[in-house]
């Protein structure tokens, strides 16, 4: 069956360079002796540590409890003893440390007992709760909590689930290997996600440079007899695996600016996430392992590795033959959207899809940036239909209002504009800078609003207290006056009585008794 596909705007053709890492089956990395598991591996609130140093944990045990709505659990990826709960360097563009749980393994890999999973009887809410507890997040790189993504609310009906197996960025092949080796899990995960979303259609978008993956998925669909699930080959063009781009290619629906795919009745998940959903719901296994591509001209034997979360990166690189030639930089992610790491001792996290080791010859350092010549090449390749030039000028001038006018936040940071720029301007760096400035400004404004509210409430409280004190004082004063007045009255009455007595001594006793009555 062929499906009418749309063409998203812009995009570029890039050499795939995926063959090096897909020539042999994936390897399972040996159990690491020590893992460092960050508690902040997802978008949203970091998990709260629930283990103490010295405590023994089994594989799959909860070590970080989700905090707040937008969060996900974090689990022990090996069996052993918690060595420390402390700040450690984590893979992040800032190079700053974050709170981690360090576990020293005892080499046994004893799993938590898998609770009986009656997934067929589970309600949608129960499925979501289970995903949240199992720490399932988007494995395409952004690590957005899946439980939140599938909670589209009672109002919006989801027409389609889209599984993203496009994997458009060069060098990365972890999704391809996963689809080839775990197609059954992917398709079953798709069925479970369809249940959680209450939808009947699922499209798996795979770029047509992965024929084996398309074949195995199709075979898995017919074996399981998965109704409503369909594999759709999409043209290979970067960044066709961008969420909005893939949705447009497959359905022709455009996700509105500042909107979510759910606004147009679509939810998009990575194929790896679907497999993780399968593991969590069918086997009770939380997310403690993922496929990682180890590749690049600086690695001797590129390949894909199934690695436990928290494994030091250098162990995986050693597993793939170690460094070769003249390794230059270690990049997490792909050559287009990844970021450089300072150390190969950092742990693999849920968002680590690829480790790319570059060499100076194959990845020359970017040339000196030259002035923008307004050629417009960036505009032609922008897949979001933005004006990268205008964004660049305003971001450079730090004009935060204008960059928002030009819809900076619709930029997916794919890097196509910087790739074609004849002046080698690091455009995406300017956009990232402007985005974080805008976010910081909004955060500041939000804090100012709270401070204003608290200040006004305090002023109101002080005024009220002042008023109440004043009223109390007035009441006391009035009571005192009242009392004084009544004593004076009594004194006057006594005086009057005495005078009367003196004045009319010897007369009839009627008046006297009357005045006595008055006194009483």
């Amino acid at each position: 069956m062929t499906r009418a596909l749309r063409d998203f705007p812009g995009g570029i053709q890039l050499a795939g360079n995926k063959g090096e890492s897909t020539s042999r089956p994936s390897m399972t990395a040996p159990l690491p002796r020590r893992v460092v598991i960050p508690l902040d591996q997802h978008i949203g609130e970091p998990a709260r540590p629930v283990v103490k140093p010295g405590q023994r944990v089994r594989t799959g045990e909860l070590i970080g409890s989700p905090e707040g709505y937008l969060s996900a659990g974090v689990h022990a990826s090996i069996t052993g003893e918690v060595e420390a709960v402390e700040e450690r360097p984590v893979p992040h563009p800032s190079g700053l440390p974050a709170l981690c749980v360090v576990i020293a393994g005892d080499g046994t890999d004893e799993w938590i007992p898998a609770a009986a999973q009656q997934t067929d009887a589970m309600s949608r809410g129960a499925l979501r709760r289970r995903l949240r507890e199992a720490g399932i997040v988007g494995l395409g790189g952004a690590a957005f909590p899946t439980a939140v993504k599938v909670n589209t609310g009672p109002e919006s009906a989801v027409e389609q689930l889209i599984l993203n197996g496009a994997e458009c960025e060069p060098y990365i092949s972890c999704d391809e290997m996963l689809m080839r080796e775990r197609a059954g899990a992917v398709v079953d995960g798709a069925l479970l996600l369809m249940r959680a979303l209450d939808t009947r259609q699922c499209l798996i978008g795979v770029e047509d440079n992965k024929p084996e993956a398309i074949e195995t998925l199709s075979a898995a669909i017919s074996t399981i007899a998965a109704e409503g699930v369909e594999v759709v080959p999409v043209p290979t063009r970067y960044p066709g695996g961008g969420e909005k781009q893939l949705i447009y290619t497959l359905t022709g629906k455009e996700v509105p600016s500042h909107g979510l795919p759910a606004d147009v009745g679509v939810v998009c998940q990575n194929v790896g996430t679907a497999a993780a959903v399968h593991d969590a719901l069918r086997h009770g296994r939380p997310l403690v392992e993922r496929y990682v591509t180890i590749t690049g001209p600086g690695v001797a034997g590129p390949g894909n590795v199934r690695a436990r979360i928290g494994t030091p990166m250098h162990e995986l690189i050693a597993l793939c033959g170690g460094y070769t030639g003249d390794p230059d930089r270690l990049i997490m992610g792909g050559p287009m959207m990844g970021f450089g790491l300072s150390d190969d001792d950092l742990p693999v996290v849920k968002g680590t899809n690829c480790l790319l080791v570059t060499t100076e010859t194959r990845f020359p350092r970017p040339d000196q940036a030259m002035p923008c010549i307004r050629c417009g090449a960036c505009t032609e390749v922008c897949p979001a239909g933005l004006l990268p030039q205008q964004l660049y000028w305003h971001a450079r001038a730090k004009d935060l209002d204008r960059v928002r006018d030009y819809d900076l936040f619709d930029c997916i940071e794919c890097g196509a504009c910087a790739y074609v720029c004849p002046s080698h301007i690091p455009l995406v760096q300017y956009y990232r800078f402007a985005k974080s400035e805008v976010r910081a400004q909004e955060e500041e404004r939000h804090r100012a609003d709270i401070a204003r509210q608290r200040y006004e409430l305090r002023q109101a409280r002080l005024e009220r207290e002042q008023r109440e004190r004043e009223e109390k004082r007035q009441r006391k004063k009035a009571a005192l006056r009242e009392k004084e007045k009544s004593t004076e009255d009594r004194k006057a009455a006594v005086q009057a009585a005495l005078q009367r007595k003196r004045g009319e001594a010897g007369t009839s006793s009627q008046d006297t008794s009357a005045s006595q009555d008055d006194d009483g």
Binding site: D40, H92, L96, M370, F433, E437, A451, Y455, R458
Partner: protein
């Protein structure tokens, strides 16, 4: 002649009633300019502008009683925003009001020294200090505006202003180094 006078009088009466009704019905409560100035001010409530809070300062600016360069926490960017709003020339911060902090700070109480006197609680303009007489006090970090007002009243000097540290949550992407200029 008479018709004209009559017609004009009737028109004047009708419009008078309309305007009078409009003035009552669509009355603007408060001064919108004050609100807009207040929205720009950082709400630190520190009083460095010599007014008892951000709103009083906003009122003074609107009334023309204060200059726009008296708010160090707002910094030069704040002065610029006020100048844009009011259509006046921006000017450098008035050094009499203090200088802009290089880094935002929050108060921190050394709890082993605190004697529970509540003086800082009374000084805090945004109720960001929690405590009771003879009980230890502590600062609610997220609510503290870093105004320094609690430091001075403390009789045992146990309050310190600590810089807000950068972590991976509030880290910002740096401005790309300007390689174009460097090349020249």
């Amino acid at each position: 002649m008479l018709e004209a006078i009559l017609a004009l009088s009737v028109l004047a009466g009708v419009f008078g009633v309309l305007l009078g009704f409009g003035a009552v019905r669509f009355r603007v409560d408060g001064d919108p300019v004050v609100d807009r100035i207040d929205a720009i001010l950082p709400q630190t409530q520190c009083g460095q502008c010599n007014f008892p809070g951000c709103r009083p300062y906003a009122q003074a600016i609107a009334a023309g009683e204060a200059d726009i360069n008296q708010c160090p926490p707002g910094g030069e960017a704040g002065v610029q925003a006020l100048a844009d709003l009011l259509g006046v020339e921006p000017k450098p911060l008035n050094p009499d009001n203090g200088t802009e902090k290089a880094q935002p700070t929050v108060a921190w109480i050394d709890e082993s020294v605190c004697i529970g006197c509540t003086k800082c609680i009374q000084a805090c303009p945004v109720d960001a200090i929690l405590g009771a007489p003879q009980q230890m006090h502590t600062v609610i970090r997220d609510e503290c505006t870093g105004c320094d007002l609690c430091v001075e009243p403390c009789p045992v000097d146990c309050i310190y202003m600590r810089p807000v540290e950068t972590d991976i949550r509030n880290w910002r992407w740096p401005f790309p180094e300007n390689r174009i200029e460097a090349a020249r």
